[in-house]
């Protein structure tokens, strides 16, 4: 046992504890009342501020699950066998030293996750840059938030998912959701849209008639991969129908003329032909947004996970800017962050091109500041590394890393073209996975490290509105597991780092994070755990100011009210044009495959598939398809189908859904093995964000029994 673990209290439970849900970025408040490990009671903390969905209610089931890992595993003669922490971590440290000595520091890579607390994300990035000295660190948030983040940076000079408090949405008369299905992905969120729904102001853009689209006054169902054209059409309609906010555009933006020059070529009738969305509906969308006293445009993965994701989000922001929504109280543009700490996870240095505080790793001033906090020379910090898919794609290649450490991620299921990713992982000399259960990625590992769950440790997260939350420990972890921080501490020390440089106590790490973030775009220096314990609602930036020790800044609930974050204070229109999907359907693969979520499962399903209540509700993969399309493929409702694309085939049970577009099939991506939706998805990357095109690829549908004749 390391010194860090011996300080842990011996009690199994610590009474009722106010904390937050372990799943999505909404981070609903919940109260945990442990009565032993197998019986932890969950209650919504403040039902008036949003309750819990089925995932949240069932969250505690995994704490006492028999699927839980409680001992390290080491591969031995082809199989994983239990090992002591000393053996497992010792083995990892020894192999890292050997590989680094042989091939240099970039031969060892790190893959993080948007589920890690701020403290873990921060320490993981520091571990990579300082203890390993590698530039090869990225995380699964690249597959999540990167397009929206890049577009927001380009438009506003700063990226915070919602640049306004979530509760501001409660006053909205009109909300356009582009590629968002919160009724399933973050259900309690809908409570904030009641007014808009009642006012007939909810507009949902989604190729599928999702439960969210069913609540909409106007559902726009574009051909997959044509969202950008649709946004241009609504923008065009707004201008043509005299709805442009000339004052706002003139006073607070630049670049309108160039953006309009592109959008002028996308009149609604032309857009209709490309998107299948009626010109009249485009005009109606523009009218609903423009006539509302309070209107918002919100984007999410459906419109962002494309090889043109950044430009597509840029086109939605153009629309919002044309109507004068951003930077004003009671209106705006925002993005619905996905993972629990998708926001904080992208700010504190586990991203290939970033340092803590949302600083750029290629910025000399940022390097000097962070190196100073870390007590190293700026020149010792590596530069930018590969983005997530490029990193996974390079593993085990002559120029790529030959060792990988994975925290809080399951890329065998969640990465695009997942057969390729599994193949690359198999080519590694060393794969280390830290997880709570034996995920599909952990099964492929050489060393598996069992770690704590959300209710067994303290830490902060930053939710979708940029508010810093304190998750609190409700019960002691089972014997034999450690926190990620303890793992990093132990490994760093074994790699020759001074112990104090990698603290295992989360509050100590946070104090260091405050200093590292100070003066950066995401400035947390004025946030303390004591303020969070006292219930303060702090949205970053929260600068400490000169009196670092007595922070008093009240945070920034609403960004951009006076000025946008570009040097000239203005927001920027983006002159973006429609290109279409990287892999359009053709005669061989005539259908569009789109991917998404179901209410009962989260991400790769590693957690939720092991909660019986959730597993029983949705036990396996299915493919939603229009009955006509199913019939043409010789399939009926309930039949076993193969969804076949250029990169692989997915097995799924047919669900005939009459509201589906006849040219589209939908696959949920939470399932493993031959049911992985990502066996067919396209790793074509956005040129700016490096986001893969998860949301559209070309496939055909056939009965599962028939072998494909290639």
């Amino acid at each position: 046992m390391s010194a860090a673990t011996s300080t842990r209290p011996a009690d199994a439970t610590v009474g009722a504890v106010d904390t937050h849900c372990p799943y999505c970025a909404l981070q609903c408040g919940m109260t945990l009342s442990p009565a032993g490990r197998a019986s932890v009671r969950v209650r919504p903390r403040d039902p008036s501020a949003g309750g819990l969905c089925q995932k949240g209610w069932a969250a505690a089931a995994l704490l006492g699950s028999p699927a839980r890992l409680t001992t390290p595993l080491v591969r031995d003669g082809g199989a994983l066998r239990p090992a002591s922490w000393d053996e497992a971590v010792g083995l990892v440290a020894r192999r890292i030293k050997e590989i680094t000595a042989d091939r240099g520091p970039d031969a060892v890579a790190v893959f993080g996750g948007g589920g890690l607390t701020n403290e873990k994300a921060y320490l993981l990035g520091k571990f990579a840059r300082v203890a390993l000295g590698t530039s090869q660190v990225d995380y699964n948030g690249r597959f999540c938030m990167s397009s929206a983040a890049a577009a927001a940076h380009r438009a506003f000079g700063l990226d915070r998912g919602l640049p306004f408090p979530l509760t501001d949405l409660e006053g909205a008369d009109a909300v356009l959701l582009a590629g968002a299905n919160p009724a399933e992905t973050m259900p309690p969120f809908l409570s904030h849209l009641r007014r808009a729904m009642d006012a007939g102001g909810l507009i949902v853009v989604d190729p599928r008639r999702t439960p969210t689209a069913e609540r909409a006054a106007l559902h726009l169902a574009p051909v997959p991969g044509t969202d950008l054209a649709l946004a241009l059409g609504i923008f065009h309609a707004a201008v043509a129908d005299g709805r442009l906010d000339h004052g706002f555009v003139g006073d607070r933006t630049t670049g309108f003329d160039e953006a309009w020059r592109v959008a002028a070529a996308w009149w609604p009738e032309r857009v209709e032909r490309v998107t299948g969305v009626a010109a009249a509906d485009q005009r109606r969308a523009a009218a609903i947004l423009a006539e509302a006293a309070s209107a918002y445009v919100l984007t999410a993965r459906g419109t962002e996970q494309h090889s043109t994701g950044v430009d597509t989000v840029g086109a939605w922001i153009n629309l919002a800017l044309a109507l004068g929504l951003p930077g004003r109280r009671g209106s705006g543009w925002g993005c619905l962050t996905g993972q629990g700490n998708g926001q904080g996870g992208r700010e504190h240095g586990q991203k290939a091109d970033q340092l803590p505080g949302y600083r750029r790793i290629d910025d000399p001033t940022a390097r000097a500041h962070v190196a100073g906090v870390w007590g190293v020379e700026p020149s010792a910090l590596p530069g930018p590394g590969r983005s997530a898919f490029e990193l996974l794609d390079a593993l085990g290649t002559p120029d790529g890393p030959s060792a990988l450490l994975v925290f809080a991620s399951n890329p065998v299921v969640s990465a695009p073209h997942s057969a390729r990713v599994a193949d690359r992982l198999a080519a590694l000399d060393l794969l280390v996975v830290a997880d709570i259960v034996l995920s599909e990625t952990a099964r492929a590992a050489d060393v598996v490290l069992p770690i704590t769950q959300w209710a067994e440790e303290d830490g902060t997260l930053t939710n979708l509105e940029g508010r810093v939350l304190l998750r609190r420990r409700a019960l002691a972890p089972p014997p034999g597991v450690r926190t990620d921080l303890e793992v990093l501490h132990d490994l760093a020390v074994r790699l020759g780092q001074p112990p104090e440089r990698f603290p295992a106590d989360p509050e100590t790490v946070f104090t260091e994070l405050r200093a590292a973030s100070e003066g950066g775009p995401a400035d947390y220096s004025g946030v303390t755990w004591d303020r969070l314990r006292a219930g303060e609602r702090l949205h970053w930036p929260v600068p400490a100011g000169p009196a670092f020790r007595r922070p008093g800044h009240q945070g920034t609930p609403r960004l951009f009210l006076d000025r946008f974050a570009h040097p000239d204070g203005r927001a920027r229109f983006a002159a973006v044009d429609h290109k279409g999907p990287a892999e359009p359907p053709d005669e061989e693969f005539p259908l569009y495959a789109i991917t998404g979520r179901v209410l009962q499962h989260y991400q790769s399903g590693a957690q939720t598939r092991r909660v019986e209540e959730l597993r029983a509700a949705v036990p396996e993969a299915y493919v939603e398809v229009h009955p006509d399309t199913a019939e043409r493929a010789g399939l009926r409702d309930g039949a076993a189908a193969a969804v076949v694309g250029r990169r692989g085939r997915v097995l799924a049970t047919v669900r005939c859904v009459p509201s589906m577009r006849p040219d589209v099939v939908f696959l949920p991506f939470h399932f493993p093995g031959a049911q992985r939706a990502n066996l067919v998805t396209n790793p074509a990357l956005d040129p700016v964000s490096r986001m893969p095109e998860f949301k559209v690829c070309a496939v055909r549908l056939s009965p599962a029994g028939e072998r494909e004749a290639q």
Binding site: P187, E214, V657, S659
Partner: protein
């Protein structure tokens, strides 16, 4: 060695070609471009002129390129000039100012000109339009019409085709009293069948546009208006001529190129001279009809690919006609004239004149062969998708015609209005997957109010938007129980 491409005409087609070439050859390493445009303006988007006419857009906002685009992209533009002759042997063109320009490849993108019918008085002895008469083709035309239409004056529009109707609608929206004079029995006869034409006329009349069918103008009387050949007078202070266009092919014809209703081109947009191509309204390709922007832009892309070394043959464009007039939603495509008794086609049609709706679908070999959608915008969008991509149409044709090819599923109940009508398995609380059956069972087990039901089933504990429905179910169960106790009703199941 750079290819020197001379583009004769710098409008919708010519300017697009320059952009498409620069998209593929940004630095101009492979292709040098000289463009010759006869209008004094920078290139603009003709499709949007009806918006300009209606006063919704400025002339500036319909420009196709930023000021300085040509310079920044190495495109030499001769503005206000036109090609007057082509020397095919010497591979050079002569401009109207006498300048000679040599080419490796010449592209004709000279477009079309408004056609003025031979009506007495419309033109003067010099062939110029008489005062009070304007065509509707260019930005200058728009300015002339706008100037002449000030103060709500009376306007006669000569021609009830696409352009004439867009002009008429735009002018009516500006407060002018507009009369459309059309020589045929129904409007837009090229794109519509008789039934649709009649409903369209009725819709336009409802928007304040007077429509005269089977009416021929005989004489223009300045100050009075148009005298028709049956003796009637259409009072008008301004006459807008929208009687069709003629491709500009004079120089091509003089140079000996094959011309037949346009300069004939093949799939490489090549004319009968291998060094001369033609695109847009002046060109004639067997796979499309002239006069629309979509074919011109697709031709520009195909030709740009060829000129930059990656051949991408143009196979034609499926044409969908959309009338752009506010308050009217009209799409027409393919063979619209098939009769309901056509033995080789399946023809569905539906006419609802009282609401301005007309829909027709012609199906051959399980594919959309033609359609008209007036006043049914979502049908127009869906049918166009099937037509463009040649997808088999759904077995339920009527649903497609009504715009309901994608029928709406039943959502979670959002009001507590009629809980009895909900099926037992229908999901009431989606956040927690709670069905009506589950709520009924919980109620029977003693959960008699919202709090108890929420605690027993988790219903309402997510987004809370099902609260009304859950309360409604509780009330309904209570009432049923009371009624049952009184022996007057059966229990809910």
């Amino acid at each position: 060695m750079r290819t020197r491409v001379v583009i004769a005409g710098y409008g919708m087609a010519g300017a697009r070609l320059a952009e498409e070439i620069r998209r593929r050859d940004p630095a101009g390493e492979r292709v040098a471009i000289v463009a010759i445009g006869d209008e004094p303006h920078p290139p603009y988007n003709r499709v949007l002129l009806s918006n300009v006419l209606a006063g919704a857009m400025s002339a500036e906002s319909v420009r196709l390129q930023e000021e300085g685009w040509a310079v920044a992209h190495g495109v030499e533009v001769r503005r206000g000039r036109e090609v007057v002759s082509i020397d095919r042997d010497g591979r050079r063109v002569t401009l109207d100012d006498g300048t000679l320009i040599g080419y490796d490849v010449l592209v004709l993108a000279t477009g079309a000109r408004a056609w003025v019918p031979p009506v007495e008085g419309l033109t003067g002895d010099d062939g110029e339009l008489a005062p009070g008469v304007a065509t509707f083709r260019t930005l200058d035309d728009c300015a002339a019409i706008a100037a002449g239409a000030r103060g709500g004056v009376r306007v006669a529009v000569l021609g009830g085709g696409l352009l004439g109707l867009e002009a008429a609608r735009g002018l009516a929206a500006r407060g002018n009293a507009v009369t459309v004079v059309h020589p045929r029995a129904h409007l837009m006869e090229r794109q519509l069948d008789d039934g649709a034409g009649q409903v369209l006329a009725q819709v336009l009349r409802g928007l304040g546009v007077r429509v005269l069918l089977n009416s021929r103008a005989a004489r223009y009387l300045p100050g009075d208006g148009l005298k028709l050949d049956d003796g009637r007078l259409v009072e008008a202070d301004l006459v807008v001529v929208a009687a069709g266009v003629r491709p500009q092919t004079a120089q091509a014809w003089v140079a000996g190129l094959d011309v037949e209703g346009g300069v004939l081109v093949d799939d490489d947009l090549r004319t009968s001279d291998p060094f001369i191509h033609a695109i847009g309204d002046c060109a004639r390709h067997p796979g499309t009809v002239p006069g629309l922007v979509q074919p011109a832009w697709e031709q520009a892309a195909a030709l740009a690919a060829l000129l930059t070394g990656s051949r991408s043959p143009y196979r034609g464009t499926k044409v969908v006609t959309r009338l752009k007039a506010s308050g009217v939603d009209l799409a027409a495509l393919g063979d619209v004239h098939a009769a309901p008794d056509d033995p080789r086609a399946e023809v569905l049609w539906l006419s609802e004149p009282s609401r301005g709706r007309y829909a027709k679908l012609v199906v051959r070999d399980e594919r959309v062969a033609g359609a008209i959608a007036l006043g049914v915008p979502d049908a127009a969008a869906a049918i166009t998708q099937f037509y463009d991509r040649g997808l088999p149409v759904p077995p339920d044709r009527l649903a497609l015609l009504l715009g309901r090819a994608m029928p709406y599923g039943e959502g979670a109940a959002s009001d507590g209005g009629n809980p009895a009508g909900l099926s037992g398995t229908s999901v009431v609380c989606r956040c927690n997957a709670v069905s009506k059956d589950t709520l009924v069972a919980a109620w029977r087990s003693g959960a008699r109010d919202l709090t108890a039901l929420a605690s027993a089933t988790r219903a309402t504990t997510g987004c809370g938007t099902c609260t009304d429905t859950v309360c409604g179910i509780a009330r309904w169960l209570a009432q049923s129980e009371k009624a049952q106790a009184a022996g007057t009703a059966h229990a809910p199941s």
